[in-house]
């Protein structure tokens, strides 16, 4: 061990890196690497294009919302539509009208909830994560980050005398 150490010249201890490795990561190498990163990001965008071309939505199932007919005006509930993984909210407004949206906030996908007060604030759909608010009539954002984003996605309802049935989702339209 000591022989090996003695055989290493002093200058090698001060400059332990070979000249070939000294310029191993040059600016040019890093630029080449950025080229690879750029290509990867472009491929990522291409995969989104492929997904959007092959994506099919619907047909949506018809599903009766359990307990909706018993809701009192001003109440709201959460149910699953169009599948078991997607939450939606059903609101019964003071005038008796039913309206429903998917529960996912368009900002960062937090769950939204219905709020109603008797003061001037009235009713709105709110998102706790970033204090976002939406109009109950249209689902458009009125406060916080959702103002700049698309509205909540509306669930199309068929309201009969004794039942409320979800029959589909509205087309997305940009805010």
């Amino acid at each position: 061990m000591s022989d090996t150490k003695q055989s290493i010249p002093k200058w090698r201890e001060d400059f332990p890196i070979e000249q070939e490795f000294d310029d191993f990561i040059t600016r040019r190498d890093f630029v080449r690497f950025l080229g690879l990163v750029s290509a990867g990001l472009m491929v990522g965008n291409a995969s989104v294009v492929v997904s959007s071309l092959t994506h099919e939505e619907g047909p949506f199932p018809e599903m009766e919302v359990a307990g909706a007919a018993d809701m009192k005006p001003g109440g709201w509930m959460v149910y699953k539509y169009p599948n078991e993984k997607t939450a939606a909210i059903l609101i019964r407004r003071e005038n008796g009208e039913y309206i429903s949206f998917l529960q996912k906030c368009p900002h960062l996908a937090c769950p939204v909830s219905y709020h109603r007060s008797n003061d001037e604030e009235g009713e709105h759909i709110g998102c706790y994560c970033h204090n976002g608010r939406f109009e109950v009539e249209t689902g458009r954002g009125t406060q916080g980050p959702p103002r700049e984003l698309r509205p909540l996605r509306q669930v199309v309802l068929r309201v009969d005398e004794n039942s409320v049935t979800a029959i589909g989702l509205n087309e997305i339209h940009l805010a």
């Binding site: 600016r27 040019r28 630029v31 750029s38 990001l41 965008n45 294009v49 997904s51 698309r150 997305i172």
Partner: protein
């Protein structure tokens, strides 16, 4: 033992131009990253129409980066060829 020629570019301004290329490529990559995240966000939000323009913009960005890399490589190759000459 004769001293060998340097195996890297020593022309004046090379460091500055390479650094400039590096920064421009880095900024373009940041833009591409934003394009990718924005198009994914739009896709998950149900907007299927924005993906293609985003991809075209990303491809243009990649073309710019590739052009900058090839310009630098071409300059370095030219120098190498000159150094090989006796």
């Amino acid at each position: 033992m004769p001293i060998g020629k340097p195996n890297f570019d020593l022309r004046p301004g090379v460091v500055a131009s390479t650094t400039a290329r590096l920064w421009i490529c880095a900024v373009i990559c940041i833009v591409q990253y934003w394009l990718l995240t924005a198009s994914m966000e739009a896709f998950h939000g149900g907007n299927q129409h924005i993906a293609l323009p985003m991809f075209i913009a990303s491809a243009v960005c990649f073309a710019l980066v590739a052009g900058l890399i090839l310009t630098g490589e071409a300059g370095a190759k030219k120098l190498k060829d000159e150094l090989k000459k006796p």
